[in-house]
Subunit: 228 residues, 2 copies
């Protein structure tokens, strides 16, 4: 009988909130928290993922995808030759941070794990703020991929693909996180992966904004001041 | 402008015929032939893939997915503890050879490569003989995943997913291969990965049968005699 979930956990604030949300949802059922090393320069986030997986008493599955590095030329997320763009996350320059088809690749592997472990769900943290930049974060993509997973694993205990915040903003996620008591210090957003959050890259700007809009005190220590 | 194709090439007879088929189709446009090392025990097929990629003047991209090995417990394709089942490929025992969600994982990565290289197509060799055993080889899965790839990469030069033999049998593929002059000695089918084809495992039985049904002399050297 299927039970529990596989949760994509990057170590950022969105997927950490989803992790706490799913733990509440499934109670004591098993959860695998799956993280990907795809050669990102902010590899630091993986340590934060490990901390959350342990806090939530789930298995942490780290998948090494650095072999697909050669596929993602042109992404500032993986190439040290390209500077990480600064400014707001929803700006056109953020397309530079797109790793082609990244979500489908990660969700496919998570679905494979869910089939193998007989979990009922694969859960990911895409939200409305991502839609403008990443086509593979839109509700229609999640719906389509969910159907592909169902058809492709029919008869093998196909898991459901769930994106609980796909119609919500990052501020909504911050609010839900506060409700769940998520320890924000266990989350990492900055694409630059320095000692503390840079405060200037797309995800830092977005993180600060989310806390502000949610009316929650932002406990994060940032290097610079907010670029607007 | 998009041109050329990314072709999934395992080194088996089906994908090798597809490789020759696509080379004819796209003329001198660039092709990436993508192969996956997922910890299969018949790793030998990858050498055959390399030979075909070179013969067809395409780049051979080998992706190391052995990190997902831990996901596929229970598959005779990757575990040396489980014997490779013998007998006909379409038998229920062949489900043992299923790596969960394998096709979606490989096609997602191939699609990422196609987006990155601006190729028009991702081509794979699934055929009607696979439908009974593998749900992710059915036409409805290919159609659904094609749509997910389109939506997930909209605005980034989304490639089309093409499965030219999805409604045809392996015998049809053998016939098409003969037409194209595919050098059968450059293809490897046996799941056991020995010195010569075992002649008894599912893919060997299927290979022999395909040549017989197509009325083509089978040049393959087999260890045993056909198990029926």
């Amino acid at each position: 009988m299927k039970q529990g979930a596989v949760v994509l956990l990057s170590g950022g604030m969105d997927s950490t909130v989803v992790a706490y949300h799913v733990r509440e949802l499934v109670g004591s059922e098993p959860i695998e928290f799956i993280s990907f090393n795809y050669g990102q320069r902010h590899k630091k986030e993986l340590e934060y993922a490990r901390v959350t997986a342990r806090a939530l008493k789930g298995e942490h599955v780290l998948v090494d995808l650095s072999g697909i590095n050669s596929l993602v030329q042109g992404s500032a997320l993986t190439s040290s030759d390209i500077p990480v763009p600064e400014g707001h996350y929803a700006a056109p320059t953020m397309k530079l941070t797109v790793v082609p088809n990244r979500n489908m690749i990660m969700l496919s592997i998570a679905a494979g794990l869910a089939v193998s472990r007989e979990r009922g769900m694969v859960v990911c943290a895409v939200h409305a703020g991502d839609h403008a930049v990443y086509p593979d974060c839109r509700p229609e993509f999640i719906a389509q991929l969910n159907e592909a997973i169902r058809i492709g694993n029919e008869g093998f205990g196909e898991p459901e693909l769930v994106a609980p915040f796909v119609y919500q903003t990052k501020a909504d996620i911050a609010r839900r996180g506060a409700e769940l008591g998520v320890p924000w210090g266990d989350t990492w957003s900055c694409y630059k992966g320095g000692l503390i959050h840079c405060g200037k890259c797309g995800t830092c700007v977005e993180r600060r904004e989310a806390f502000q809009l949610a009316g929650i005190t932002d406990p994060t220590e940032y290097e610079g001041s907010l670029v607007t």
